[in-house]
């Protein structure tokens, strides 16, 4: 049914090793440790085109680079949007940047989510924590092209109420009659009336037609493993399931070797993989 996208080289930058200066137009605090940057090219050139799932290497002057997925609307030609969780040297430095500051951007890199292949099918997104950011472009795309897709579900898990990413948008999305948005928290106090438990517990009661469904998963590897199991219990096959892998990346162009995952370079053969392509490695330790 779903045909896995062949290695596609889309939107490759012209000089992939050289960051382009972008200016921060706006910083939005999403949660206590997550923020969103709205960027525009500092030199007035057009904003880069990207496909949902692609990422950029963001450079903080003098500090270093991080691989960050594009979290904005692929149809928005005015801004480039990234959502970042501050976890270490570069992302902490990034969190200190303000409106008007400059940042270097290389990209876009990597394989996209199968939004074209999924046309005509039900779409199920399963994600946790910051993993919602790389999938937000898919949500924008499907909502903007709603007639091209079947049922549409977003299953989202967060650790606690204060980790609810894009909370305002989640509420807005929930208001759509043709978009099934389910949110669950790992732990919650008594004033939370929603689901409690890991995100995989939402799968058994989500409606989709297993024969005509494409699932897209982004989250920690354990979460993706259990999600794949649950989806397969519901009748999905490994070629209908797409996951995104995370590995250390120094170059994003296939030269540094750091992102290798068995025979795959996550930077150029991924980060989005049809699960059947990596099923033999997934879950093997220390690959």
């Amino acid at each position: 049914m779903v045909i896995a996208p062949e290695k596609q080289f889309i939107n490759s930058p012209t000089d992939p090793m050289l960051p382009q200066p972008y200016r921060i137009e706006r910083v939005r605090r999403e949660t206590h440790d997550v923020f969103t940057l709205e960027l525009r090219p500092a030199n007035g050139t057009p904003v880069m085109q990207f496909a949902p799932g692609q990422f950029n290497m963001l450079y903080v002057f003098g500090t270093g680079e991080s691989a960050i997925s594009i979290s904005g609307d692929p149809n928005d030609t005015n801004r480039l949007i990234h959502t970042v969780r501050a976890v270490g040297t570069v992302t902490n430095a990034m969190q200190k940047l303000k409106r008007g500051d400059c940042i270097g951007v290389r990209g876009p890199f990597g394989t996209p989510w199968p939004i074209v292949e999924a046309e005509g099918s039900d779409v199920v997104i399963v994600t946790g924590g910051i993993g919602l950011a790389p999938l937000r472009p898919v949500i924008y795309h499907v909502l903007a092209n709603r007639e091209k897709y079947g049922r549409f579900a977003l299953l989202f898990g967060a650790r606690s109420p204060r980790d609810l990413l894009f909370a305002r948008e989640l509420e807005q999305w929930r208001g759509h009659f043709d978009f099934n948005v389910e949110v669950t928290l790992d732990t919650a106090s008594s004033d939370w009336r929603g689901n409690v438990g890991v995100v995989t517990t939402l799968i058994p009661r989500t409606q989709f037609d297993a024969r005509h469904t494409v699932a897209m998963i982004c989250g920690p590897e354990v979460m993706m493993r259990f999600t794949v199991q649950e989806l397969m219990k519901r009748g999905l096959t490994t070629d209908q399931i797409f996951v995104t892998m995370e590995r250390n990346m120094k170059c994003a162009v296939g030269f540094c070797g750091h992102c290798q995952y068995g025979p795959h370079f996550v930077c150029k053969d991924g980060p989005v993989f049809p699960f059947d392509r990596i099923a033999g490695l997934f879950g093997k330790r220390e690959i």
Binding site: A42, C251, F255
Partner: protein, 364 residues
């Protein structure tokens, strides 16, 4: 064609007019590749003895120019340099300006490159020139290099190019290829041109075509070298063999011996991995990015927030060997190993990739 030993200097002289000439020379008890000012810089009359974890230079009883095999360095240090600045940047109130690094423009000639090493360059070409992206730093150097190959007159104790189909005779990828003949008081080179440029130079150097007998002598030397391989590796189905044995107990065994010192990856002519360093000056207004060689044996290599993916010695050795011999084939259509033997010779504890393959095959 025939180039007499007495005329060998002409080859270097001719190349020196237009190229930086790099070739083997002796330093710190080993044969290394460095700039040659004349043919007397070559390790004339020397040979090497190599085995797992050992390397020793020894006098020969003749004055051969190329009577040894490969040393600790490979040519990758001149094409895929150990440290490369990628760009510089300045920051002021107007923002960031990023200035690309100028490309290398000098021309290099490699003298004495062996067949396995030509294959190693072709393998790195696949990484840096023939995949989705092009490494312009590598490309600028690579396009300006003149390759003078030497067909090995003897094999080293850790060589296994015959098993890897990469030698000992150079069959392509060179401008000139030399076979050194020392016999009955005669000393000359049988020279073959591999490119039009090579042919032009050769025409300048030599007017004498090789006789049938001289040709056959050269062939016989390569054929004899092929019978002397210090090591062998059975490569039949090796891609699947390793991919299907990621949990083989032998990985634990080798992990107990491996020091994860990264020597094997540094000496390997095909290993291409790098890391980057972002630096600033004291004012904080000037920044640079440098790329330098890295190794999958380091802990940092796979660091993700929270820890390294390959935290154990076992997983790092497994990555190295499965990459060289198995996943490389998936990625680039050829083995990542050319059988040069460097990783065996320069391993401080003498771990031998050919022996590890045998063990996984279960033929110990």
């Amino acid at each position: 064609m025939i180039l007499e030993r007495g005329d060998f200097a002409l080859l270097l002289d001719a190349l020196q007019k237009t190229h930086q000439v790099i070739g083997p020379t002796i330093r710190d008890g080993a044969i290394v590749y460095d700039e040659l000012s004349s043919a007397t810089d070559l390790p004339i009359g020397w040979t090497d003895e190599q085995d797992g974890g050992t390397y020793r230079l020894k006098r020969r009883n003749d004055e051969a120019l190329f009577g040894y095999v490969v040393g600790p360095q490979s040519w990758k240090r001149f094409l895929h340099v150990p440290r490369q600045r990628l760009w510089q940047a300045t920051q002021n109130e107007n923002g960031i300006q990023i200035t690309p690094e100028p490309q290398a423009t000098h021309r290099m000639a490699f003298i004495g490159i062996r067949s396995c090493e030509l294959h190693a360059i072709a393998i790195q070409d696949n990484v840096f020139l023939h995949d989705q992206f092009t490494d312009t730093f590598y490309q600028a150097r690579r396009e300006n290099v003149f390759l003078v190959a030497v067909n090995c007159g003897q094999a080293g104790g850790t060589c296994f190019c015959v098993s890897m189909n990469t030698g000992p005779k150079a069959t392509s990828g060179f401008d000139l290829a030399l076979t050194e003949v020392l016999e009955d008081g005669q000393h000359y080179f049988v020279v073959e041109a591999g490119t039009a440029n090579g042919q032009l130079l050769l025409n300048e150097l030599s007017q004498r075509a090789a006789s049938n007998e001289e040709q056959q002598k050269a062939e016989a030397i390569s054929a004899q070298t092929a019978t002397q391989m210090g090591r062998t590796m059975d490569t039949a189905g090796i891609k699947e063999l390793l991919a299907q044995n990621l949990e083989h107990p032998r990985w634990d065994d080798v992990a107990n011996r491996c020091l994860t010192c990264a020597n094997c990856t540094m000496v390997c002519p095909t290993c291409f991995c790098t890391t980057v360093e972002d630096v600033t000056d004291l004012t904080g207004e000037h920044a640079e990015r440098w790329r330098r060689w890295d190794s999958c044996f380091t802990m940092d290599f796979t660091y993700l927030h929270g820890g390294s993916v390959r935290a154990s010695n076992k997983s790092r050795y497994r990555q190295w060997m499965t990459h060289k011999l198995s996943s490389w084939i998936d990625q680039f259509g050829s083995s990542g190993c050319v059988g040069c033997g460097r990783c065996i010779t320069w391993c401080p504890v003498g771990i031998d990739i050919t022996e590890e393959v045998r063990a996984i095959r279960g033929k110990e």
